[in-house]
């Protein structure tokens, strides 16, 4: 019976509200540029700062240095040790996040309006003059070692690490940014100082802010916060050459359920066909319950709790990969279904209905992303570091809508190459053989 939905169809045809978001470009006297969404109804501000380069700037033999350095930023500055610093931040109820990623070092701060100046002064000390004292280095090293150990027993981590290593070899993308037990053990204070200079310089900063702050206040804040960082950091890493061939790698691991990471080379974020690829992936394995992979592997066959794919487009190398977990006795069937779907997509692309449904979702969901100061600040930083225009939110849905079935068919052939598909399976899968 479809009367129920037919009666609602008029509602579906109403266009979604236009994006009601006003992004201002703020330029400080000291030369920093930030994007700001002013929102004064809640008395705090979220500021998101991204330094391009990140953990991929680790020097040869020093894998894990950037990550360890970032982990130590909140562990003391000047005459404050780790406990003094934490007590000061907690007393102000400011929240500072320090994270290392493949392509960036990210600082996310939330600060109350009532004590913002003090919170900025505290954060400034952490960014500009971290202490890197030996006691803290040793303590944080032991935490990182504990994380490396935990990851080494986690089937999902084992699978994705093995895939990256085979795909990117010696390039930093080919290994985990935490480093290895040996590389972390070998890091010393000088390595951390070098990592700090290399990764956190003024020539690679992107800033987004949202909340209870005016453009003038933000400009002054940024000069205070960042003005004393070194002008120039390390050169950006080189391109990571994709080295993996098709086939199946089985990594034996005693567990009731196998984990598989699968895929091949991906597509650059700045490629003219990126939007078509983005839509294609959305339908293939990106759309939650609605994707082809979810429908074929979970909904129709009950083979998994979850399966998805993504365009993993890093600055210096790209993958198109997916991940799935399934019982050891059912993984072989999952691999058959995924390969069939990969081939079907390569050969016939999307149907007109699928393309239209994907556009409706993607254009409708886009404005909903701009929800909350923390999310907005993060999006603004991401847009800038990706090289997008400040007017991008106004034109983005037009770009999605401009993609045609012919674009999709072209990209499907180019992007989806079943002949290059590699599976890395961790577990004890029945009837899945190593091909190498």
């Amino acid at each position: 019976m479809r009367i129920f939905l037919t009666a609602l169809s008029t509602l579906i045809l109403i266009p979604l509200s236009a994006l009601a978001i006003d992004i201002q470009e703020v330029k400080s006297k000291g030369g920093f540029t930030a994007w700001l969404v002013e929102e004064h109804s809640i008395p705090f501000v979220s500021i998101d700062i991204s330094f391009k380069g990140g953990a991929s700037l680790d020097l040869p033999g020093k894998r894990g240095a950037t990550n360890l350095m970032v982990g130590l930023l909140e562990e003391g500055t000047g005459d404050m040790d780790a406990r003094d610093f934490a007590a000061a931040a907690e007393g102000l109820a400011a929240s500072f996040g320090f994270d290392a990623y493949n392509d960036s070092v990210s600082i996310s701060a939330k600060m109350l309006t009532e004590n913002r100046d003090q919170a900025v002064a505290l954060l400034r000390r952490a960014l500009i003059e971290p202490r890197f004292d030996q006691v803290s280095i040793d303590r944080v090293k032991s935490q990182v070692q504990s994380i490396i150990l935990s990851d080494s027993k986690n089937p999902e981590d084992i699978a994705s690490r093995a895939f990256s290593a085979a795909a990117f070899g010696d390039h930093p993308y080919g290994s985990g940014l935490n480093g290895t037990e040996e590389s972390v053990e070998g890091l010393n204070r000088d390595d951390l100082i070098a990592a700090h200079h290399n990764a956190m310089a003024q020539d690679r900063i992107f800033i987004g802010a949202s909340g209870d702050i005016t453009p003038d206040e933000l400009a002054a804040l940024l000069d205070d916060l960042l003005g004393d960082l070194p002008a120039v950091g390390a050169p950006m890493p080189k391109q990571a050459e994709y080295q993996l061939t098709n086939g199946v790698t089985v990594i034996p691991y005693e567990t009731p359920q196998s984990v598989a990471v699968f895929g091949h080379q991906g597509i650059e974020r700045h490629d003219d066909d990126f939007f078509a690829a983005f839509i294609l992936n959305h339908v293939f394995g990106g759309a939650g319950f609605e994707s082809r992979l979810m429908s074929e592997v979970r909904e129709k066959r009950g083979l998994t709790y979850g399966i998805g794919s993504s365009l993993y487009s890093l600055d210096h190398g790209q993958l198109f990969i997916g991940q799935v977990a399934s019982s050891n006795d059912r993984m072989a069937e999952v691999i058959t279904v995924v390969t069939d779907e990969w081939t079907r997509m390569a050969e016939s692309g999307l149907t007109a209905e699928e393309l239209s449904a994907a556009k409706t979702f993607l254009t409708g969901a886009y404005p909903l992303r701009f929800d909350g100061n923390s999310r907005i600040a993060g999006i603004l930083t991401g847009m800038q570091s990706t090289g997008l225009d400040i007017a991008y939110p106004d034109t983005r849905n037009d770009k999605v809508n401009a993609v045609t079935l012919a674009d999709i068919a072209r990209v499907a052939k180019r992007l989806m190459r079943p002949e290059d598909l590699r599976y890395v399976v961790v577990g004890q899968p029945d009837n899945v053989e190593n091909t190498d």
């Binding site: 109820a93 032991s142 009950g302 709790y305 929800d371």
Partner: protein
């Protein structure tokens, strides 16, 4: 540096909320309650329906049925084909999902505010008109078993948690895992699912929570239109679960597994929960958890075990007072390399005893109270977080008045309250102490 284990422990400070002027409620004639949180910053709305039915309400022997039914609610009604619910949400640019806990099951969508009516219409439909086939149930049961494989059976820490929780509760169903024991979950049937559905899914057992760019009057009118016509259940069971007998004997568990990378010791004590009109003891325990093990750098355990003695790479105390029945207060220590679990446990006991003997550090208490105050401000940034707080409170025995009073109750906690609550809870006879170990390195 935040340790990976920090992700396993819920922060207590993240939750408190005060009654904002922008929170309103209503009740329909059929007994359905509604809560509306107005936030006009962007044209977005979160629509949630909460049922006062969770894993702890399941019949004996049918563990996992509340959660499996949650999956099946996406499988179609008299008016919607299987999968059409989520497809319709997506076609409107929205996202949807659901979750099951011990005390509740909740369904939600995040959509543009002008799509709210469609969401409410579909939620009202599946509250009373579920239609599921035998085949749907069998396929979805496989999905649930793979979910159990992924989240529990593949993770020694999760298996260990399941065993510890079962040992914590001698009689109460909180000892049973939400996803179900495998031997019971793999036998669940369509009839089991429908029996649970017919017993608990009715307007007089549900709470609508809407947060976002809406007005209370509009939400109430839409609720009257779509949920109002639903018949209430006349034989809704009284929500009185079996009680725990006195705990007379300490329980100790050792679990080893090939896949364990990082051993740790964890202890939980049976502890009182927040109750309507009676929240002060829970408030004292909330602050106690923060003082003892909230911040790695400044809490008592963190300072002693991670900094002074360097016995631990991570330590924490955790307590969540929001629970319909008796909850737990927990302590965890992840020992540094070359520190045995016995030494870690001895250090934990010694440091907790020291904490109880010393006067409470008033500066630390001040910082915690400042953070609780600030968390109300930060909390207003997330619609989903706000909606969750109200939905979970109302399905766990609290009223809007209790939610409103909570920040004041926390602010009023004194040193004496904390010491008294700690003395009462830290009784080893009601504790479960667990050691997670590597296979071949059992201690």
């Amino acid at each position: 540096m935040k340790h990976i284990f920090a992700a396993l422990i819920l922060s207590v400070i993240a939750a408190p909320l005060s009654a904002q002027d922008n929170v309103k409620s209503f009740t329909l004639a059929n007994g359905m309650e509604g809560v509306v949180i107005e936030d006009h910053r962007s044209p977005v709305v979160v629509n949630m329906v909460w049922y006062r039915a969770g894993a702890a309400d399941e019949p004996r022997g049918k563990s996992g049925i509340a959660h499996m039914l949650e999956h099946l609610l996406f499988k179609g009604t008299e008016n919607l084909a299987p999968g059409e619910f989520s497809k319709t949400v997506a076609a409107n640019g929205g996202s949807d999902n659901a979750f099951t806990a011990k005390d509740y099951t909740a369904y939600f969508q995040r959509v543009a505010a002008d799509r709210l009516e469609l969401m409410m219409k579909m939620e009202a439909d599946r509250m009373r008109n579920l239609r599921i086939s035998e085949e749907d149930v069998l396929t979805e049961r496989d999905v649930v078993l793979e979910e159990r494989n992924q989240r529990t059976d593949s993770d020694p820490s999760a298996l260990f948690g399941e065993q510890r929780t079962a040992a914590q509760y001698l009689n109460h169903p909180y000892g049973i895992p939400i996803i179900g024991w495998r031997h019971e979950a793999e036998k669940l049937s369509r009839a089991d699912a429908l029996a649970f559905y017919e017993t608990y899914y009715s307007p007089n057992n549900a709470i609508l929570v809407v947060a976002g760019d809406v007005t209370t009057a509009d939400v109430q009118a839409l609720a009257e239109k779509h949920f109002g016509p639903l018949e209430p259940s006349l034989d809704l069971p009284v929500r009185a679960r079996v009680l725990e007998p006195p705990h007379l004997a300490e329980r100790r568990l050792k679990f080893s597994d090939e896949r364990v990378a990082q051993p740790y010791i964890i202890r939980s004590y049976l502890a009182p929960e927040r109750n309507a009109g009676e929240q002060s003891e829970a408030a004292a325990l909330t602050i106690l958890a923060e003082l003892l093990g909230g911040s790695s750098q400044t809490s008592f355990l963190g300072k002693r075990l991670q900094f002074d003695e360097q016995i631990a790479v991570y330590s924490s105390a955790f307590y969540s007072g929001q629970s319909l029945d008796a909850t737990t207060f927990g302590l965890v220590v992840v020992p540094a390399a070359n520190v045995s679990l016995q030494d870690a446990e001895d250090a934990l006991d010694r440091v907790v005893a020291e904490f109880l003997e010393q006067p409470i550090n008033q500066e630390q208490m001040g910082r915690i109270k400042q953070q609780i105050k600030a968390s109300e401000i930060y909390g207003r940034d997330s619609l989903r977080g706000l909606a969750n707080s109200y939905g979970s409170a109302l399905t766990q025995g609290l009223t809007l008045k209790d939610v409103a009073a909570w920040p004041e109750v926390l602010a009023a906690v004194t040193e004496e309250d904390i010491k008294a609550a700690a003395a009462k809870v830290f009784d080893r006879r009601q504790a479960v102490t667990g050691w997670l170990m590597r296979k071949g390195e059992e201690q």
